[in-house]
Point group: C2
Chain length 242, copies 2
Amino acid sequence: MSICVVRQGACVRWTKANSLEVRGKSGQGQALAQSHIRDPKKNRRLLVQATLDSVAEAGIAETTVSAIIKRAGLSRGMIHLHFGGKDGLIVAAAEAFGEEYYSEMDRQLALVSGDPASVVRAVIRADLSPEILNRRSAAIWHGFRGEARTNPAIARFSDTRDRRLRLMVFNAFDALLNTNPQDQDRELANEVTLGALALLEGMWTDYMTHPNAFSRDTANRIILRFLNGVVPGAFPVEQSGI
Amino acid sequence: MSICVVRQGACVRWTKANSLEVRGKSGQGQALAQSHIRDPKKNRRLLVQATLDSVAEAGIAETTVSAIIKRAGLSRGMIHLHFGGKDGLIVAAAEAFGEEYYSEMDRQLALVSGDPASVVRAVIRADLSPEILNRRSAAIWHGFRGEARTNPAIARFSDTRDRRLRLMVFNAFDALLNTNPQDQDRELANEVTLGALALLEGMWTDYMTHPNAFSRDTANRIILRFLNGVVPGAFPVEQSGI
DNA sequence: ATACTTAATGGACGATCGTCCATTTCAGAA
DNA sequence: TTCTGAAATGGACGATCGTCCATTAAGTAT
């Protein structure tokens, strides 16, 4: 759309951001692809995606302003314009990542019937699915989690994200274990929930450190085997998993 | 020992590194505390510890040369002198951290009788003990694990560390499950091992993100409960844990 | 066409990064 | 004491960090 004229020998390439192609990734194109009508938030999303890609490939430390704008094909000032600074962009990227996670999780859970064991099975399967657990997401999640220790904004987001998943799993185990309500049963449900989530966390870590040796089927089967041990019979382990 | 004379107004403090006090932390003082005889590797250790402390408190990204030498009370050039550069120091710090981990793990395991279930119990208890799992170690471990994706030297160290722990646990489960040797049992032992380690990983993550809400007893009890499910009766869960 | 608002640019800026090395300090030998 | 080699120092250096803003480009209203 606009060729950056070589002035003082600085810019030599197309600014890809303004080309007409519309990234069809998240299919929400609400008549945005029409000829001149530009998406007013396109560059915002472009910067957020570039940030996430950079965090995934190069890590948080290497995700500099220069690296981000190079990926996005935009100019330096855009970050300050849209997010007030780099920190604002990082937080926005963390939020966007959380939305990616939960929108896919919800999509996969929407197809599942309501009995508690099925919900748990579906959560585990979804959390290990290629759409949710992949090199990009594992690296991003690890990076942001580390950042959460220092950055309060990210810590808050990270917490709420965790809480929602925990509540979902807890409710399932609560319904599964509490045929007649009792306090120690509720405590048991809480412990089983923590254990299940710890197993998932550990699998994510395992995947991140050894993505090639990792098997989703095996991970899924192991978790079901462990859950079937604490809630006997509720999670029969099939021979071939996912 | 040496006051840095104010020259060009740069240095105004004692260089703490050369004061006579000997850090009694790792009690290996082999006659080093005697009057003039200086420990030739004191500054190496000082830099490594300063690096680990910085990684623990401020994260990998904030662990700069300036931050490290400020903590160590040494001068800029020491890092280049002893480690060839910052990267060398980071790797040395990762190795030192691994040694800290395993020396403490070995110390705690040395007291344990040899039956497999006791070994597993001891590994879990040790891995969750305050000496091994604390804010410092959790933050350091998380930081280095993220760095391992990019830094081959750290990846290699990180891998060998993991492998040793895994082998230890696997052998225990193998002995526990294989009364008469069979292939599918060996596969089962492998899966139980992966699950147990994933549980520990998850607990470490949980501790790192919520150190105040974390309970070592609860974590220990949860893991034993899950293990008792997959190896029935081998890990009876007491009412009050660790 | 002209004026005006918003989006976007990219270079300037001071701060800080890690590396390197000329110099100084120090302990032990001569 | 003087000499010598190693240990230690801290400032110089170019590179790169994130921020900021004067300027240009694009879109809309008059």
